[in-house]
Symmetry: C2
Subunit: 276 residues, 2 copies
């Protein structure tokens, strides 16, 4: 079984679903947030009354997920003709670990226009993977080819800040056919922006993430197990938190998903920068 | 009482809060979504155990809000040392109308960097308000000065598509001191992107919106009742839905909030465009 399928494997247990964290996606102190988000999306998709396709999912990371078993509770909140709303929560014992909401919708044909621009970058085959061995298990679950914005350590406090923008080809490792679960997982697979800008390994963690899906199953089938081009950027690092906006493009130029998140960062050393 | 305070006025009634829709913020078929979001944020902020400042709020519009009374249910999901999570729902009778989640956090001092760029535009005093009388009540609740991207009707189907980007100075009308409630309300005050791009008055509606706050109370006090510069853009219009990303800047160059939303659009007539 592919590690992502193992990480999102759920069993029905009465009114709830049960699953378990995956060492293959381990991060600093818990599982990679993308895999957790994928498990919650999986739970909503498996709801017996679910109809249509995911269009929006928000996940709030309330507490670190402890290694081991977790429960997921899916609550159908509203079902209309073409849209459907769920609230989904993860608990461990009596503790709420995650709150989330997901929206499903039918996707009619009609006006189509991509006002965003896919960056023109080298194809993934022309880019070497990073040379350093990944320090965390989850990073090895992606084949990443950085077209721009690979994080660079800043040697000195007065060195210029790094760019907040990254362009990186990504696919699941081992390769896996693209679906909504993989897309949700991948929407969190960018290194934290504060790490890029500060050029330091500091404490970071996503607190809330929202992913919007702009594709249907035919678009995903077209991708197969090919790379997506991920673009991530940030607008602000302020008062202990930073934002991130991300775009996931198919090689053929379809914008499959967009995502934004807020993450906390704690940098004990003061670093000079734009004080505005 | 200011119309926004009236629209977000809540009374405690046992375990829930009650409020009522405001004609002053009326939209096509219900109240303006921003005012509804502001009422839900107000509900979370009034929770007796609320601590710290709003940092992220997601609202899912499950069904049109009917004119009249509504109930809001606030559930404290998790309270940590520096972050706190609520689930907030609006109901009318037995129907779920809104699901939402909100996150509060303490905002420590430390590294500060604005990687986004505030556009260099004319000051609001040099820009006339739109000449046409606003067709909907909520539009009159904002003093809007379009620096760029005022929506233009497309006369013919083969006319070029409009730009998805808008830069607009906005303040509450009548003027009101900036706070988190006003910021939440304003983060939804952009005209729908499909309307700008298609240049037609078509059926649109927000289905899900997330706003991130990058400010504290001192930043808001600095704004007073001055204009904010709102920037809105979109990446894609596909299969009946479009995205929107927005930035709200103080005149002094502080990025106070960022927001994204997905909205549906239904255009019966086929409009030529980028078929990619």
């Amino acid at each position: 079984m592919h590690p992502l399928d193992a990480a999102t494997k759920l069993e029905t247990s009465g009114e709830k679903l049960t699953g378990a964290t995956s060492d293959a996606y381990w991060n600093f102190t818990g599982p990679f947030g993308g895999a957790t988000a994928a498990a919650l999306l999986q739970a909503a998709m498996q709801h017996p009354k679910r109809q249509n396709l995911p269009i929006a999912m928000t996940i709030n990371y309330c507490a670190p997920v402890a290694k081991g078993a977790f429960d997921i509770h899916v609550s159908e909140k509203r079902t209309n003709r073409s849209t459907q709303h769920f609230a989904v929560e993860m608990t461990q014992g009596a503790d709420t670990i995650i709150t989330s909401t997901s929206v499903f919708a039918s996707r009619p044909e009609g006006f189509f226009h991509t006002s965003g621009k896919m960056p023109d970058v080298l194809p993934p085959e022309k880019i070497d993977p990073p040379k350093a061995k990944a320090p965390l298990a989850w990073i090895d679950r992606f084949d990443m080819r950085f077209a721009s914005g690979f994080p660079v350590m800043r040697g000195k406090d007065d060195a210029p800040l790094g760019s907040a923008r990254t362009e990186v080809w990504m696919r699941d490792e081992p390769r896996r056919k693209m679906d909504f679960i993989s897309l949700m997982n991948m929407s969190d697979a960018f290194f934290a922006r504060p790490f890029h800008v500060l050029g330091r390994l500091i404490t970071v963690g996503t607190i809330s993430m929202t992913t919007y899906f702009h594709c249907d199953e035919a678009d995903l089938a077209e991708v197969g197990d090919d790379y997506l081009l991920g673009v991530a950027d940030a607008s602000i690092f302020a008062k202990g938190y930073a934002d991130q906006t991300a775009w996931l493009w198919s090689r053929g130029g379809k914008l499959l998903a967009t995502s934004q998140q807020m993450l906390y960062f704690r940098d004990k050393a003061f670093v000079p920068g734009d004080k505005k």
